[in-house]
Amino acid sequence: MKPRLLVIISLVLILAVGIFFRFYKLGITPAGFYLDEAAMGYNAYSILKTSKDEFGKSMPLIFRSFLDFKTPLYTYLIVPLIPVLGLSIYVTRLPSAFFGVLTLPLIYLLIKEITPGKNTTKLALTATFIMAISPWHILLSRTSYETNLSLFFLILGIYTFYLGLKKPYLFIISALGLSLSFLSYHAERLIVPIVLLFLIITNFTTLTKNIRRYSIMVVIGIIFGLTLTWSTISLMRTPGFLSRTSTLNIFSYSRQFPAGYKPNYHGPLAGLVNSPALLSVNEFASLYLSYFSPRYLFSIGNADPKSSYPDLATYFVWQLPFYLIGLYFLIKDKKANPLRTIIILLLLVSPLPAALTRDPYTTIRSLPLVVPQTIVIALGLIKIFEFTKTSLKPFLAAPLCLLVGTGIISLYSSIFIINDYFRSYAWDYGPTKVVDYINKLPKNLPITFDNSRGESYIHLLFFTKYDPATYQKDNFEVLPDQYYTSMVRNKTKNIGRINYKQIDWGLDAERTKQYLIGDGLVISDHELIVHRLTKIADINNPDGSLALRIVETNPPQNEK
């Protein structure tokens, strides 16, 4: 078989594996639909129907979402899909899965473009395959996270930058990619400028040598990039834009003491011992290093149940030796080449935004790190085979194939079997299913849905496909001109016959005949007895734990 044909077949097979793990049961698994996903889906629906989001703001530049502010690109990408495919979980997750798959060939092309010498194709194919079965990348491709979209555009921007050195018109595509990456996710607002600066510095000689050839396209690219990002940059100082930064930033002491602070110590050395600057720098260093920690990478993964799969970390255990070998060769190889430059750049820069936030090892905020680490593992694998005698290669390949095979089985069972059973609670399984139950309830009684925990109103809007115009008319939270600046919330919502508010037992159970919906903490067995409630249904998570409970009130006869 011709080598070229073999490469194409290999690439097609790798893509098939990538597509399977990203698209199979996309609308069903993870079981449930997290509130951020529902918010993006419903706001896209609202934009489609009224050109305004749920708060009545016309075509927002960043989407207000509860008290968080989401980057806009993902939501706008869902809008054209709804008329064709309808509003569903699948459609909301579709852009993420689509761009997740597209990232795979892009990784292949990038490595092919920037790797010098022999083994380029082998390295590109191996890295693409490792990415195709990466639990980290798969998880974020199967859920509506903007970070995955942002990664695609970042890689596109880098790849077309290198292509642009040969064909200058591609600088425009590079500018487009980097700008869209900047617009797609908060973390990339720090990463993209550093990457761009680094690309310019490392290719400065080439760029200045051919200044005449490049100048027009570079200027067009800059204008194009600034036009796309300017409106977002102009919002950078608004409270809305800064809300995430101020809440999560480890250098913000207004909400929390720095880690290691000893509030009970007031001795003469308190100024030094409790110095916020020293403690925060220490915390930053520990957070930054956690992104290279074998414990997180190969054993624990992200501690958030939504951000990892059960029994799987971000990488497979068997990849550890290759990761270490790859790192060794990366450090020891002193020759400057674009591949080494890009790997080191992304390795060092990608954890920066995540390390500035309090949570240890968040895979969502550090997603660009998956690219250099995957390439490092692939590099380790290639080097091992390079240094192994030909006669011994089968003895290395056989156990490796076995490990990859068992890894794929683990991946399948964790994603499609174990995760749905054990972690559906984290994916808002109860609120995802509650509308099916509500639709079966007689229409003559009102419903009160407790709002003590979560933001389930967005699930009600999404799954009932509630008319956005009516919702905007009946629910006021913020004036359009204060959309990016006001941090005031109105947690009470009116959605047709459903009142989304905190249950007032005296009023709601003792005076009004209605249905109440809440979790097991609000409507406990004790409340059932005390308020003489009739249980209509318990909505259980797949593991049998109670997610939501629906009851009917029975107020005394003389009161209404």
């Binding site: 110590y265 030094l272 110095s275 220490n282 260093a285 520990s286 290093l289 956690s290 920690s293 414990r295």
Partner: protein, 208 residues
């Protein structure tokens, strides 16, 4: 002379963190590390907790094919999971320099700061110039064997002190290699290291 003094003081700091933390948390009157529960078979990964066993049984029940389930989830699964977690924790630099993470309470005492956080610079230098370290093969073999054995313990806190000598040697090697570089930044860096590490040590001793 000043630089030499800084190097000696840096060594003292590097060598003092772990033993001081260890003795502050394991008082001679209550030397928990030698209690029967810590040195028995019960403190090994081979003893599976009822919760882990229950999770295992429920996981197996989710598969249509029992044999596929057994391939993925069997008696070895919780043992391997715990063993690999211990192994990766023991080779994790964050464990030794930051107590895993400042906000992470792994188990009591397991996340002690074992070396000054800034000494990670010397540790990485020591690793990078690993080949120049005397007896590096012996140090590597002893460390690896120790880690492989310690990983069998359910809670390796206290017992992991046996890793102190090899790690201290690597950091000390890195410190020497670092201090011998001819750069105007070396002395200020060593001074900064001594200053910040002294504060860290005070924090450990005074505010425990």
């Amino acid at each position: 002379m000043f630089k030499r003094g800084l190097v000696i003081f840096s060594q003292i700091l590097i060598l003092s963190f772990w033993p001081i933390s260890f003795f502050l948390t394991n008082q001679p009157t209550n030397f928990e590390i030698l209690s029967p529960s810590r040195v028995s078979l019960g403190n090994t990964v081979f003893v599976v907790s009822p919760l882990d066993y229950d999770t295992l049984v429920r996981s197996i029940g989710l598969f249509k094919s029992r044999s596929l389930a057994r391939l993925e989830y069997n008696r070895l699964t919780p043992i391997f999971t715990k063993y690999s977690l211990n192994f990766f924790s023991l080779i994790d630099p964050n464990n030794y320099f930051f107590g895993f993470h400042p906000r992470e309470n792994v188990i009591p005492n397991q996340n002690l700061i074992k070396f000054p956080p800034l000494s990670i610079i010397f540790f990485l230098t020591g690793l990078y110039l690993w080949g120049n370290l005397k007896y590096h093969r012996l140090i590597f073999s002893l460390s690896l064997v120790s880690i492989l054995i310690l990983s069998f313990l359910n809670i390796f806190d206290g017992f992991d002190l046996i890793l102190f000598p090899p790690l201290a040697l690597i950091i000390r090697h890195g410190l020497f290699e670092f201090s011998q570089k001819k750069s105007f930044l070396i002395t200020p860096t060593l001074f900064l290291f001594c200053f910040i590490s002294t504060i860290d040590l005070i924090r450990i001793v005074l505010v425990r």
